[in-house]
């Protein structure tokens, strides 16, 4: 069928889902690990989900029959909810969400529900903001490494461009003024008008929170260039260790000429572990942005049924506070388990204090210090070791050998098993110049076609 029958957007690859990364996902789908039915299957470590704290929510549900039974004071509210499609959202829900956001940011910022726009997940929030802030062909600067889904969310239907701000392991991947300026110059060279910077804080895939210095650098930069700053803070509730998380909204307090150009994206998919419910939000002090984004949210509103449930859940102050504390404790515990396990195997991670993953340094395991070498190692991980981890190149990392490894989407036992497999692999390859030979798990060599897959354009889900 001729491609012209469809739009260019339909025919192109900007959605990023044709990348070789998906081999890992597909392989996982074909052979998913299960402790009982498939103990040798692939363990999914490429999925940044938070499965650690569902029981806390479940027990709340069990003790709150009104919210769960769609009742208010005993009266069924199904009818009201079924009809409610006001894009301003359920007021009780926005208030509860604003309170929850404030408490996740150790109460350093008070969020005003009127400045919140509800969207169908952070995916929709990010796309909507770009539609509001950039014309097709204009660009946003993104520090690398970054969440691969941004290639789809920010560029695909909006026609906007991304210009990377290159960060390096030499300083722990911190954002510097020099790197920002370099990226801005590069954009100009490409004749791209820069409309803003988009950062993820806490960072995906690094798992680090931004320092005050970094935040000030970014804010100074956007003011100087008269551009926007979008802060994707979907992991703000996963900050399990010091230093504490500083929201961009805290960082701009007291500064001039800034409030109208700073916008925050949030979601309940990571902190609460509810990605299925599609709850995202934009928060902005810019009234025009709030107004425009609100109208655009018609294309992806949050189900009123879900708003109602979550407004009850999040309005419970006691639940909010105890959940935030316990969730963090469990994330830290799981994080420490992975880090210690990797250390025993001689693998180090970037020092991190947030997120649902570690940014793992496997450079010493590369056959060659190239992205081809990284790809080869990755395929070994998927097919031989049986771990679906995410290669740094899919996150636009400049240096080969870094991998994102998730730890919060599985049981502790499964994580132990994953560490064990990795350990076995490293031990078996110790001293061998060539990885993937005898002594490894699989008997046959990898087929040639795997080694010749293109190494560009990789992407993956958070």
């Amino acid at each position: 069928m001729p491609q012209q029958l469809l739009s260019r957007k339909a025919a192109c690859n900007t959605h990023g889902q044709d990348s070789s990364y998906f081999l890992g996902w597909q392989e996982y789908e074909k052979n998913p690990y299960d402790p009982k039915t498939n103990p040798t299957g692939i363990i999914q470590m490429g999925l940044a989900e938070n499965q650690l704290s569902f029981d806390l929510i479940e027990s709340w549900l069990e003790s709150h029959p009104d919210a769960t039974g769609l009742r208010r004071d005993g009266v069924l509210v199904f009818r009201e909810l079924g009809l409610f499609q006001d894009y301003h959202g359920l007021p009780e829900f926005k208030k509860a969400l604003a309170d929850f956001m404030g408490e996740s940011r150790p109460n350093t910022v008070k969020f005003d529900p009127h400045k919140l726009v509800l969207t169908a997940g952070a995916t929709s929030a990010n796309e909507t903001l770009i539609f509001c802030l950039a014309e097709p062909g204009e660009a946003f600067l993104l520090p690398t490494p970054y969440y691969p889904g941004f290639d789809r969310d920010l560029k695909w239907r909006t026609g906007a461009e991304i210009v990377p701000v290159r960060c390096s392991s030499s300083n722990g991947f911190r954002i510097t003024k020099a790197a920002l300026e370099k990226a801005h110059r590069r954009a100009r060279k490409l004749h791209l008008r820069v409309k803003g910077v988009l950062m993820t804080n806490p960072s995906n895939p690094l798992g680090t929170t931004m320092t005050r210095v970094e935040l000030d650098t970014l804010i100074d930069f956007v003011v100087a260039k008269d551009i926007h700053l979008i802060s994707d803070e979907v992991y703000s509730g996963t900050n399990f260790d010091s230093p504490g998380f500083i929201s961009v909204m805290e960082a701009i307090q007291g500064r001039k000429n800034v409030a109208h150009r700073v916008h925050l994206v949030y979601s309940l998919s990571k902190d609460l572990g509810l990605p299925g419910f599609r709850v995202g939000a934009i928060y902005s002090n810019n009234e025009t942005v709030v107004a425009a984004a609100t109208k655009m949210s018609s294309f992806g509103l949050v189900s009123s049924q879900t708003q109602y449930l979550l407004s009850a859940l999040l309005s419970d102050k006691e639940f909010r506070r105890s959940y935030i504390v316990e969730n963090r404790r469990r994330i830290k515990e799981r994080h420490d388990l992975l880090v210690r396990g990797l250390e025993r195997t001689g693998i180090s991670c970037l020092n991190s204090n947030a997120g649902l993953f570690c940014w793992v340094d496997m450079r010493h395991l590369l056959k060659s210090n190239t992205f081809d070498g990284e790809m080869e190692l990755w395929k070994t991980m998927v097919y031989q070791v049986g771990l679906n981890i995410s290669p740094g190149s899919s996150c636009h990392c400049d240096e080969p050998g870094w991998f994102r490894v998730c730890f919060a989407n599985m049981s502790a036992e499964t994580l132990e098993l994953a560490i064990q497999r990795l350990d076995d692999f490293v031990v078996s390859c110790h001293g061998h110049k060539v990885i993937c030979n005898s002594g490894c798990r699989m008997q046959s060599c990898m087929p040639k076609w795997i080694l010749t897959l293109p190494s560009s354009d990789r992407m993956l889900e958070r």
Partner: protein, 481 residues
């Protein structure tokens, strides 16, 4: 240094493409400022500009009470909570897709088959229309659309996509049917202007007409699409509201009966549960395409507007209950028929004629006899009187791009019977007074009535009657239909 304000935002954000500065939404504002309530505000504005279906909600409420396991929050269903809350696969829950396919078949009397693998989710039909436009057309391309049409298509199909909508004119003397001549004329006009036509967008059953498309017209459209190699997007959102004959014919049936009539790659259906089930709050939009590449692309785009899995789960269970859906559809139709008859009879009683209709949640009525000027301005003036003095928010035909002044859409399924009676009483009073005034004026001065160039006596009247084009504060408080 930069100046805070609109200069740093996109044209999409600062322009009018959202369409909320139109008379369609103006009436809603009037309602928001003064909403009718039988006890607390009996003289308030009655909302008749909102195509909601409130007639069967208590049947669903009943079902939910009797089926606590369908909710993941009740003690009967909470064991599913984790799996459901964690599930974000854009294919959707398999049971949900199966249930939707089954329900779509049932709404079409089993005359069409739907494959669950082709069901793609979206953020309501609003999201579905935008996604389809993104998939099928590039900025600057156009879709042809028969007038009158649902005003928010201007937003859904065009706003962020840059796609154009060009009218296929339909006329009252044809009962607003689409004719081959007008279709060809619209296509030619676009080509002459060097605009690339990528497809046709129809709503069947029609909003605002409330009519179902006859088989012949549908086949004509399908053949035309095939000949010109353009798409046909059929918004069948009201398919479950067909309360009277003739029987609804879905484009799915046309393809099934005669697969050779058209390349299936050109045919796409948009659906939603907002009208048939009356649950717009749940945001369940569906794209059903016969084109594999479109299914694939739309599915990827659905990441921007997936249905909450909590809602998918509830509906999978409800719509999977065969007996329930059979009864629900039958009862819904019965109530709609009853309401439609009562309303149109009430209008006929004061000489107001409605287009003969058999579906939808509204009537398309002609108030031409009440127009002082048979012009678009005349229609707007009459409309303002109806909103401000009669206190009924009905929607003027011009907001639906109707080419003939005097037509109005009045919704009747979003209120109880008493409110409908109140609305009819107000209409009767208004029509009687208007007729009396007309008669009185005729006997006094002939030139004052029905002349194209006649002007209001006082300039102030004109100012008061012109719709205020202001930035909406909250135009969509109730809905986007």
């Amino acid at each position: 240094m930069g100046i805070p304000g609109d200069e740093i935002l996109s044209r999409v954000a600062t322009g009018d493409g959202h369409g909320e500065n139109t008379s369609y939404f103006d009436g809603w504002k009037a309602y928001d400022n003064d909403p009718f309530h039988p006890i607390h505000n009996p003289n308030g504005v009655i909302q008749m500009g909102l195509a909601e279906n409130q007639l069967c909600l208590e049947l669903m409420q009943d079902w939910i009470t009797k089926n606590p396991q369908a909710s993941i929050c009740t003690k009967e269903g909470v064991s599913e909570f984790k799996a459901i809350a964690n599930f974000q696969d854009y294919h959707g829950l398999p049971d949900f897709r199966k249930a939707i396919a089954k329900f779509m078949e049932k709404a079409r009397g089993g005359r069409a088959r739907f494959d669950p693998e082709r069901i793609v989710m979206s953020g309501g039909a609003t999201g579905a229309q935008e996604t389809i436009a993104f998939c099928l057309a590039n900025p600057g391309d156009a879709f042809l659309i028969p007038t009158p049409y649902y005003p928010a298509f201007d937003r859904d199909f065009r706003w962020r996509t840059g796609v154009q909508l060009l009218p296929i004119r339909c006329h009252s003397h044809d009962n607003f049917k689409i004719t081959e001549a007008e279709l060809a004329a619209a296509y030619r006009k676009a080509s002459d202007s060097k605009i690339r036509v990528k497809g046709i967008l129809i709503t069947n059953p029609s909003n605002p007409l409330g009519t179902t498309m006859d088989r012949e017209t549908l086949r004509t459209l399908v053949r035309f699409a095939n000949e010109e190699r353009i798409h046909l997007v059929c918004d069948e959102i009201f398919s479950g509201t067909v309360f009277d004959g003739p029987e609804f014919v879905s484009v799915a049936e046309i393809l099934q009966e005669d697969p050779s009539i058209c390349d299936g790659d050109l045919i796409h259906i948009v659906y939603s549960l907002s009208k048939d089930l009356g649950v717009p709050g749940f945001r369940v939009g569906i794209i059903y395409s016969y084109n594999d590449a479109v299914v694939s692309c739309a599915r990827r785009m659905s990441s921007f507007g997936l249905v909450s899995t909590q809602t998918q789960r509830l509906l999978a269970s409800m719509l999977g209950d065969d007996d329930f859906t059979t009864d629900l559809l039958a009862e819904s139709r019965r109530r709609l028929l009853h309401r439609h008859r009562a309303f149109t009879a009430g209008l006929e009683g004061v000489g107001i004629r409605c287009l003969k209709s058999n579906a939808g949640l509204f009537c398309w009525m002609s108030l031409k006899p009440l127009l002082k000027d048979a012009t678009a301005e005349g229609e707007v003036k009459l409309w303002r009187v109806i909103v401000d003095e009669v206190k009924l928010n009905i929607s003027p035909g011009s907001s639906f791009h109707c080419t003939e002044p005097g037509w109005f859409r009045a919704c009747f399924a979003n209120m109880d019977e008493e409110t409908m009676e109140t609305a009819l009483r107000r209409i009767r009073t208004f029509v009687r007074r208007a007729n009396e005034a007309a008669t009185a004026a005729k006997t006094k001065k002939r030139w004052d009535t029905a002349l194209r160039l006649s002007l209001p006596r006082r300039l102030e009247e004109l100012t008061v009657l012109t719709p205020r084009l202001m930035s909406p504060r909250s135009p969509l408080v109730q809905a986007a239909t």
